[in-house]
């Protein structure tokens, strides 16, 4: 078992040292430190070089800046976001409703849950060639891809959220003579909201995977286009930059959603956020 060795620092008397130590071990410092370490390693690997096709961190940064400056990055992002937003929105609305209905009604559960359980375990990406064959390479296919990837996790999370409502809360609602609608609306749904929202966050992440896949496999547009184009002309710094941007974007979107989630549903977590 590893323990953090603090004996030497601890023996140093005086508040100066203790304050410094507290600052040094602050989580933000570590985050910065680990980023620096990773970027430095990346830089080294690029310069060494591991391979002709592996650019260094600085090269990637410069390339990214170039693409941002000439507008190609911005334009690509806009194109990529469209199927993502449409797909995730559709999945969210349809998925949450479906999950709630399955949670409340046993017959709907019997009908729907096995399908989505299979969908969650299966490599849905394999459906893409099928979709392309049936519907071509347009926006509709990409939106459908996003929906296919995002919906199972949203549906199953919403379903589980409703199912796992604490029984004593529901009993409490009954004991105070709540009607079925009141119990669903005032107790079950609010209790389920945090998990449903967590499902939406996971759905968004899956949606990102879907849109990237769609752009790499179906027809290159947006960011996927930037990636494949620069790959084909061996402009690796720009290719890496585009990839880094898409990953960064997904991280931003998902943390944004997490913040909203905490703001709306978890007052107890606000101070820790």
């Amino acid at each position: 078992m590893l323990t953090v060795s603090t004996s030497r620092a601890g023996r140093k008397a005086g508040t100066g040292w203790q304050a410094a130590r507290r600052h040094l071990t602050h989580p933000l410092v570590f985050r910065l430190l680990s980023s620096v370490v990773v970027f430095a390693a990346w830089e080294y690997a690029g310069r060494k070089p591991i391979s002709a096709s592996f650019p260094s961190f600085s090269e990637t940064l410069v390339a990214g800046w170039e693409m941002a400056a000439d507008g190609s990055l911005g334009a690509a992002l806009l194109i990529t976001i469209v199927p993502l937003v449409i797909g995730v929105t559709i999945s969210a609305i349809v998925g949450v409703i479906a999950g709630i209905v399955m949670g409340l009604d046993r017959r709907a559960e019997w009908l729907g849950v096995p399908v989505f359980i299979v969908a969650q375990a299966a490599p849905l990406s394999a459906l893409i060639p099928l979709l392309v064959l049936a519907y071509g390479v347009g926006l509709a296919t990409k939106v459908t891809t996003v929906c296919i990837m995002a919906m199972p996790v949203i549906v199953l999370n919403s379903f589980k959220a409703i199912r796992n409502t604490p029984t004593s809360l529901v009993e409490m609602g009954h004991s105070f003579l709540g009607t079925r609608e009141q119990v669903i609306g005032k107790i079950i749904l609010p209790a389920a909201s945090p998990v449903i929202f967590a499902g939406l966050r996971l759905g968004l992440a899956s949606g990102f995977i879907g849109v990237v896949l769609a752009e790499l496999l179906i027809s290159p547009t947006g960011i996927g286009d930037l990636i494949t184009y620069h790959q084909s002309i061996a402009e690796y710094p720009k290719m890496f930059a585009a990839i880094a941007v898409v990953i960064l974007l997904s991280v931003i979107f998902i943390s944004l959603l997490e913040r909203i989630e905490i703001l709306l549903f978890r007052p107890e977590k606000r101070s820790v956020a």
Partner: protein
Amino acid sequence: MSAAARQVAPVDPRSAGAMVSVRSVSKVYPGGVEALNDISLDFPRGQLTTLLGPSGCGKTTLLKIVAGLLPATSGEVLVEGRTVTGPGPERAFVFQDFALMPWATVLRNVAFGLELRGTPRSEREDVAAHYIAQVGLKGFESKFPHELSGGMRQRVGLARALAVKAEVLLMDEPFSAVDEQTRRKFQEDLLQLVVNEQKTFIFVTHSIEEAVYVSNRIILLSRRPSRVMRIIEPDIPRDVSPDQIRRNTAYLDTVESIWQGLKQYLD
């Protein structure tokens, strides 16, 4: 059938008949577990009756049947002469795990019973505020359950049950999830509440001391499948200070005699 027909204990001259009557209630859970076996009891109006017994003996089951939250397999429960078919406005339940809505403030939680009835907002918030003050939580109206200690949360649950102005208060081991000091304080407060509110209380606990301390009447239930073992009416002066009650000889003797009776049913 009149309330006087089947009585297990002598009629208390103070009450005008039993508030709640349990008639030959049995409960068998799906899977064959027999929780209650032909129980008949009366709960006198205006008194605090405790259901006492070892863990798992079915006292909570009986309480929930009286509350209308569980159906009896056979037998019936009458409240003020009317058969129980489900929950009703004349009975309020206080839950062992508090059952507070974590996303709602104390005020909203306490007012919840009234909210479900459709009472207009300002009216129900006034009533809620009154009972919040009465259980000693004045000033905490806009706090959330996670900001309160266990003891405070249970007081919210109690205030909620009081706010609907039910005649019968059903309490399911309400003090078991709080620490000892808080528990003692609650017991003292409960005694005061019984005197002030003039309601009928049915209280479930597995603590002998607690039962003897707060109750007008104790019903000892046996192990599952439960039947009524004994009915005891502690003869303890209640107009002395709380600490003096706990040292009163009659109190201590009653506790001891119940303990001796229950010991044979333990593992």
